[in-house]
Symmetry: none
């Protein structure tokens, strides 16, 4: 049997937009790994009437109800009361938990007086399994009633995450026979709808494994997911499809189960024992920032120059002023000169030069925002691509840095 | 009348836990500022049947239904069909939007073939108001039917946020007689709970105007909001409180109604006619990336050097190798040498040097991740601060770049 779950996050702060519902994300991820379908998230405020309504709806459409939040000691914490009532259970003070709370106040907060409402945290539905809160005071719990599983978790993300891992996952593993495994296929150089168009023939007739595209910041990710009795079996189901997708998409796939294009580039540089230096104008340090996001980048990334105006191109990089005057700062010639200069200045194997207009305004030469030249220089050869990027300053800069990373990747392959 | 709203976020990726529902957070915050109550968030997958169910429930309990996501070109984008059907509307191709999509492909992606499904994005409910998508291709829309307001927004957070600000807030403002105005007070150098502690005496007795703190990426923002019959009246209500808050918090306030610390710094540099150059080690270009995020930065920001390993500190910056050997690359002496070197190399008024350990590993000298030295050098004097930053690589790098910006700001004040 495949279980379906609904996550109810309780807290007015979520409805005011003060915080994002990361608890639901964390719980969802764990459930998806367990092969449990999550069909709905609901967020409701600290309001008994509306909470009751949310629980009633969830009860009608899910096998497992997981709540986050509303377990605290104050009068507006209504989760336990509402769930207990919905399933005809009484709340009973759990003496072990009450003792823990008393001793917490005695030992850690001797200057604060424990108030009676602190003990409300020890009241739990009769017959439930208590989930110990390793990083906070409110315990969580689980019970089974009317064929449903009800699980209550604390709201603070650290507490929720810790309890999820140590208590909820083991509890839910017992319910399910099947395992879910997946692979992420990372793509650069083709849009989401074009990727889908290419793969539609195989996607349409798939159910298990399934294949779904996601677009993010100029890249596309395909997630291949299989549900099976074991990891081995899931891998066997995915393997031919993974091969087929790789054959169909070819070298626009920059990695499988990797983190990012910069991660792939740093990995390739290490593997090929090559070093890299960068010279950036319009991206203003974004490329070097991305490369140095990766721990251990210093082994292969030597450093870079942000030559943000003409003066710095001449003085820091030693680009010939005449070249800039003749072709303009945003030109193939200057991009190539920047790449070559930074490579030789830092004695790197590969030099990258980026010059362009990020906008919103055009430059003095009348070039449009989005015009970007990216050059890659090695001891053997130099190449330069001219790009036309779109939308706004941020997207143009992100696009330029991704294209530069992809050029380095293709060079190293 | 006080309106109540429900936000329905559409996307299987949210239910799999791949991303957090930040769209609902952004929409909630805007609605709360407009005085509209949000009672529920719902998240549903790209599934027509369950989407229909979610819409039916929302229709029964909210005056305003706002959806995010599911407006894309692929067959699993079901938002428009479901909402149109729920309110008895037809979907009609909007020729102006279809032309935009065609011209987008012709002009910007001539090497890519536009597929028919791309035109699905131009199909909109009859009689709706079209919301232009300034940063993507899928338009949003709004219509009124059966006494309800329905608003559909794109899923990608950047697109959702932009449309929220430029289209949704003006649309919703017309529903309410009262006007809502606010000021954002930006703070660096004190945590959220410390700010709240300081201001609690005045916050507690306030209702209109209201004052609420938000923490984000190492900064705190206070939002002061007033509801009144006119802008003038709202400003008169806020003015004494704004003055009181400024007096209480002093120079940890870096700006009011500004975008970011880097924006404040670029503004001050322009105002004081000073130029800036940067030399970065552990931040790896993040500081120069932030500075060049601001359009027009090239007038005052000359450029920078990312000296990511010792070799580049010596070769690009000309830092004395003996200094590095004697004090270590992560030291007060090297930070000061970096700041001075980049200032004189680029003939700037102000030079900044950052060296530290971003982690996750310690360096060879045994220094702990989070140890960071930031130096600021001018023709008159040099200063250097030693910081101990916490959490992970990303937070340490963000914290170092913010502290550097704040040091420049304080110097220029």
């Amino acid at each position: 049997m495949t279980y379906t779950a609904e996550i109810i996050a309780v807290g007015t702060e979520l409805l005011l937009g003060g915080i994002a519902n990361t608890d639901a994300q964390d719980v969802s991820r764990s459930l998806s790994e367990l092969g449990i379908n999550v069909f709905f998230h609901t967020v409701v405020g600290d309001n008994p009437r509306r909470m009751k309504q949310a629980v009633k709806i969830a009860k009608s459409r899910a096998d497992i109800i997981i709540t986050t939040g509303g377990l605290g000691p104050t009068f507006d914490d209504v989760t336990k009361e509402t769930l207990a009532e919905a399933f005809g259970k009484k709340l009973i003070t759990n003496e072990a938990e009450a003792d823990k709370i008393r001793s917490f106040f005695e030992k850690r907060l001797p200057h604060m007086k424990m108030t009676e409402n602190n003990l409300r945290q020890a009241e739990l539905p009769e017959g439930c399994i208590v989930f110990d809160n390793g990083v906070g005071t409110a315990p969580g719990c689980a019970f089974e009633a009317e064929g449903k599983h009800v699980i209550m978790l604390p709201g603070p993300p650290r507490e929720c995450r810790a309890m999820l891992k140590s208590c909820v996952v083991p509890y839910l593993k017992k319910l399910s026979k099947a395992e879910i495994h997946s692979h992420n296929i990372h793509i650069f150089g083709l849009g989401e709808s074009a990727v889908e168009e290419k793969l539609r023939p195989i996607m349409e007739c798939m159910k298990n494994p399934s294949l779904a595209p996601y677009a993010k910041d100029g890249e596309v990710m395909l997630r291949l997911t299989a549900k099976a009795a074991s990891k081995h079996e899931a891998e066997e189901m995915m393997s031919p499809i993974l091969e087929q997708v790789c054959n169909m998409l070819g070298d626009i796939i920059y990695g499988i189960d990797t983190d990012s294009l910069e991660n792939t580039v740093i990995g390739l540089l290490k593997e090929k024992k090559q070093t890299l230096a960068t010279a950036e104008s319009c991206t203003g340090g974004l490329l070097s920032k991305r490369l140095t996001d990766i721990p251990g980048a210093s082994k292969v990334y030597i450093g870079g120059i942000v030559a943000y105006n003409e003066k710095s191109k001449v003085e820091l990089l030693g680009v010939d002023e005449k070249l800039i005057n003749k072709y303009g700062a945003v030109s193939r010639e200057v991009a190539l000169a920047m790449a070559t200069a930074v490579r030789s200045k830092l004695d790197a194997d590969i030099g990258v030069g980026i010059t362009g207009i990020a906008g919103p305004d055009s430059d003095s030469s009348g070039q449009e925002p989005g015009t970007v030249f990216i050059a890659v220089s090695t001891r053997e050869a130099d190449i330069c691509n001219q790009l036309k990027l779109y939308y706004d300053r941020e997207r143009i800069r992100i696009g330029a840095s991704l294209n530069a990373l992809d050029m380095i990747r293709r060079l190293l392959k």
